[in-house]
């Protein structure tokens, strides 16, 4: 073994080291996905099944036929699926923290935030898979986004970025909750109404007024609208700005409190 003759001891972690530590942690997350591909079932099967199901069930009723419903439903399902996937971040974080390996992370001289940041970073892979599959399913079923390929990619990046931001909320639940199943429970309770009480599946003007009020302030609605504008028309509007601002606010609020809660448990 090589001999580190003079240890240089530092009591702080530099920004560069924080990034490197987080990337190593993300690499670990990717290796885990590679080793246990079955944990990708939700991001692979859900987009396929939901896209097929919702399109053929609601298509005729809402838009008259399936083809004209696709531009409405595909962005809706995309947002619902990818945001739903961000719950897994919190659940897996809780599971990870309950295992002995987290003790080793904590006893190593690495940036304290790295185990969190890295895990969240690795999860963007899951969002990417879900995004690609949803668009692909749509394409197979006849969806031809007017906005063009470039704008579809932008829309995809927007959804992935927002899902990453929202995953900080579930990471917070993951850190403070006692069991992984309670994280799942709380998160679904929050997410289910949020995704359905939006414009993701049906036109808003069919809803009663009081519901329209909620739907219009729901951030999911703005995200869905932003994706539709980008993918279907190639336009950028107020909804896109709102989505990005919302994502930034979520990260600004939840990243610090999640890290604080995590540190207190460290």
């Amino acid at each position: 073994m090589s001999q580190p003759t003079a240890r240089t001891l530092k009591n702080h972690t530099s920004f560069g080291q924080t990034i490197r530590n987080s990337l190593t942690m993300a690499y670990r997350g990717l290796l885990k996905i590679k080793r246990t591909p079955e944990q990708l079932f939700d991001v692979t099967l859900q987009p396929i099944i939901f896209t097929l199901m919702f399109t053929y069930i609601f298509g005729g009723a809402i838009s008259g036929d399936v083809a004209s419903y696709l531009p409405i439903i595909i962005p809706g399902i995309l947002v619902q699926t990818v945001i739903g996937t961000s719950v897994v971040t919190g659940v897996q974080l809780r599971e990870d923290m309950d295992k002995g390996v987290f003790d080793r992370f904590k006893s190593l001289p690495i940036a304290r935030i790295a185990p969190l940041a890295g895990a969240l970073l690795a999860d963007t892979i899951r969002y990417t898979i879900a995004t690609v599959l949803t668009f692909t399913m749509g394409f197979i079923m006849g969806y031809r986004p007017e906005g063009g390929f470039g704008n579809v990619v932008l829309a995809a990046l927007l959804v992935i970025a927002c899902a990453w931001a929202i995953s900080w909320i579930f990471a917070f639940f993951g850190v403070i909750a006692r069991t992984a199943s309670s994280v799942q429970g709380i998160s679904m309770l929050v997410l289910f109404p949020l995704t359905f009480l939006s414009n993701a599946f049906v036109p808003v003007d069919t809803m009663p007024n009081w519901l329209q009020f909620f739907v219009k302030i729901n951030p999911i609605t703005h995200l869905v609208s932003a994706v539709r504008q980008l993918a279907n028309d190639g336009t950028v509007g107020w909804d896109l700005s709102l989505s990005l601002i919302g994502a930034a606010v979520i990260v600004a609020v939840f990243a610090p409190i999640t890290v604080r809660a995590y540190m207190r448990r460290t």
Binding site: T13, Y27, V101, R104, S107, P109
Partner: protein, 335 residues
């Protein structure tokens, strides 16, 4: 393994803990623990399940904040200089702290990368350690298929990547079979020969006896005794002599002779025909044996028992062993 300069971080004490307290709800898991561990030694923390051993280690290893008291690792405060302390220690937990879903190599590479090794270096380091711990063949298999012993060895290997001068081993052999256990002991001894300091906790008295230079006995969050193994044994008292006569009718006579020659009270378990007496002076045994022969009493069995750490432990913690009951159960086993 090359050697590590244990003296490199300042001070001769690897661990200095003062009045560590940790409370979980109503339970004072650790209630004022003081520990001093000299650099380059193996220090054993011995106690029953739930005595506060793991909590103590977790506080020393910066995994848990103490409610009161302070601890220094090579003179560095575990709270104020926690990131420095983490560069000086390796921790092997009670439950193997490695990634189940990854392979042995992947685990070691990731930990190495975190400790600042480059991609190639990390890979080489992982190979070296796997070789050293006899895990090369299993390097690519996921840990799910590892035995308990292999997992522990991998865990220990992971703690040694940075060659830390202080290694915490929390119950390193709990749940291992005897052969794996003695392999683990060998590894631990080798570590100290290379200059590392080891602080280990154990529930096994023979393990502390086998490995540790000094021992702290801990019970209900308190250190109830501290010293070298011999000191602790001596504090419990002398060795005892056990005799068994061939003819049960000789018991009375034999017992009279034992008490006469050794000058001490003896006890006898009638069914087994076994006489037990404290033995202060080994030389007196010669006289006793001659006297027994002169009386024509033949022995079927004779043994001298030094106090075991079990007795030390039970005497100190006050959960005195019921000797009658123990003798009775021993008989059941032999019968």
């Amino acid at each position: 393994m090359n050697h590590i300069q244990a003296k490199e971080p300042k001070g001769e004490w690897a661990v200095e803990a003062r009045g560590l307290v940790k409370t979980f709800g109503d339970n004072r898991a650790v209630d004022g623990v003081d520990l001093n561990v000299r650099a380059g030694s193996i220090y054993g923390v011995l106690g029953p399940h739930g005595a506060g051993k793991t909590t103590t280690i977790r506080m020393l290893a910066t995994l848990l904040k103490a409610d009161a008291g302070s601890a220094k690792i090579f003179g560095r405060d575990t709270v104020k200089e926690s990131q420095i302390v983490r560069q000086l220690i390796g921790v092997t937990g009670q439950y193997a702290s490695v990634d189940e879903s990854l392979s042995a190599t992947e685990n070691l590479v990731i930990f190495s990368r975190w400790l600042g090794l480059g991609r190639k270096e990390a890979k080489r380091k992982a190979e070296e350690l796997l070789e050293e711990f006899g895990l090369s063949e299993a390097a690519r298999r996921p840990l799910k298929n590892f035995s308990g012993g292999m997992r522990r060895r991998l865990d220990l290997a992971a703690s040694l990547i940075a060659q830390p001068p202080l290694i915490f081993l929390d119950e390193p052999t709990t749940g291992l079979d005897p052969r794996t256990r003695s392999q683990m002991w060998e590894t631990i001894r080798r570590l100290v020969n290379t200059g590392s300091t080891v602080l280990l906790t154990t529930q096994y008295l023979d393990e502390a006896d086998q490995l540790a230079d000094r021992i702290a006995v801990i019970d209900r969050g308190h250190v109830v005794a501290e010293g070298t193994v011999d000191e602790l044994k001596a504090s419990v008292g002398t060795s005892s002599l056990h005799l068994r006569v061939s003819e049960p009718r000789d018991i009375g006579n034999a017992r009279r002779l034992v008490e006469q020659v050794l000058g001490a009270q003896s006890s006898v378990s009638s069914e087994a025909g076994k006489i037990t007496a404290p033995m202060a002076d080994a030389d007196a045994i010669t006289d006793l044996l001659i006297a027994l022969r002169a009386e024509g009493i033949s022995l079927s069995e004779m043994s001298v028992q030094k106090p075991t750490l079990d007795e030390v432990f039970l005497t100190i913690t006050g959960q005195g062993v019921n000797h009658e009951a123990e003798a009775a159960s021993a008989k059941e086993v032999t019968a």
